[in-house]
């Protein structure tokens, strides 16, 4: 596994964990996944995820990186945890 990780890093890929909640969790068919990606931003990452999962368009979603709200053009780093959030509905 470590060899795969080192190879991925050499090719400019980053290992990113993505968590899904609520409506997005159901659409993704899983609560989280880890992928090796060349996506530099949440915008690029979401585009890539939409090729693999039946996720809705990104408009109206919010983004968190490492448990902080971030914008769609935030620079991702290896090992980041990214969450795409549907519009909230608490209360």
């Amino acid at each position: 596994m470590r060899g795969v990780f080192v190879a991925a890093t050499l090719f400019g890929l980053m290992r990113i964990r993505v968590d899904y909640f609520a409506f997005l969790r159901e659409r993704a068919g899983r609560a989280h996944e880890t992928l090796d990606t060349g996506a530099a931003t949440p915008r690029e990452l979401y585009r890539e995820l939409r090729e693999r999962r039946p996720l809705p368009p990104g408009k109206g979603l919010k983004v968190a990186v490492n448990d902080e709200f971030r914008n769609w053009d935030w620079s991702l780093e290896d090992g980041d945890r990214v969450v795409f959030m549907p519009p909230v509905a608490g209360g």
Partner: protein, 138 residues
């Protein structure tokens, strides 16, 4: 413990109220949001809440800090439920202790409004008939 909490168990409103004790506060305002049996003209059988807990707790704490700063409230607490709730169950509780009633009402109103807008919590409605639906799903 944070002044904003997520709870998988029923909210103990008497215990929350007791935690607001403050001899300098002459006013206490509480708001409780409960599960109602209808939404937008449709009968509702129950609700399920899910949250992104790490961010919900930090954003909820920011909302509470803002309420204290803006309205001069001395103590502000908020608890939000997760899991499966039945009609009539308390889904969210906000309590504010302040010197006077205006600050207490205003701060409580601010907290519930901002929590509904900003804190990453989602609800799924269950109906007597038909499949359950996530509210605000894109």
């Amino acid at each position: 413990m944070s002044d904003f909490r997520i709870s998988a168990d029923a909210i103990d409103q008497a215990a929350e109220l007791a935690a607001l004790e403050d001899t300098a506060s002459g006013a206490v305002a509480c708001f409780c949001g409960r599960v109602r049996n209808h939404n937008e003209g449709r009968a509702v059988a129950g609700l399920q809440y899910e949250c992104y807990e790490e961010l919900a707790v930090s954003e909820g704490a920011r909302v509470i800090a803002e309420a204290k700063e803006r309205f001069g409230a001395s103590r502000v607490l908020c608890v939000h439920r997760t899991g499966d709730l039945a009609i009539g169950d308390a889904a969210v509780w906000v309590g504010v202790a302040a010197a006077h009633r205006n600050e207490a009402f205003a701060a409580a109103r601010y907290v519930i409004d901002e929590v509904k807008k900003r804190v990453p919590i989602w609800k799924r409605e269950h109906y007597p008939e038909g499949p359950a639906e996530w509210i605000n799903a894109p």
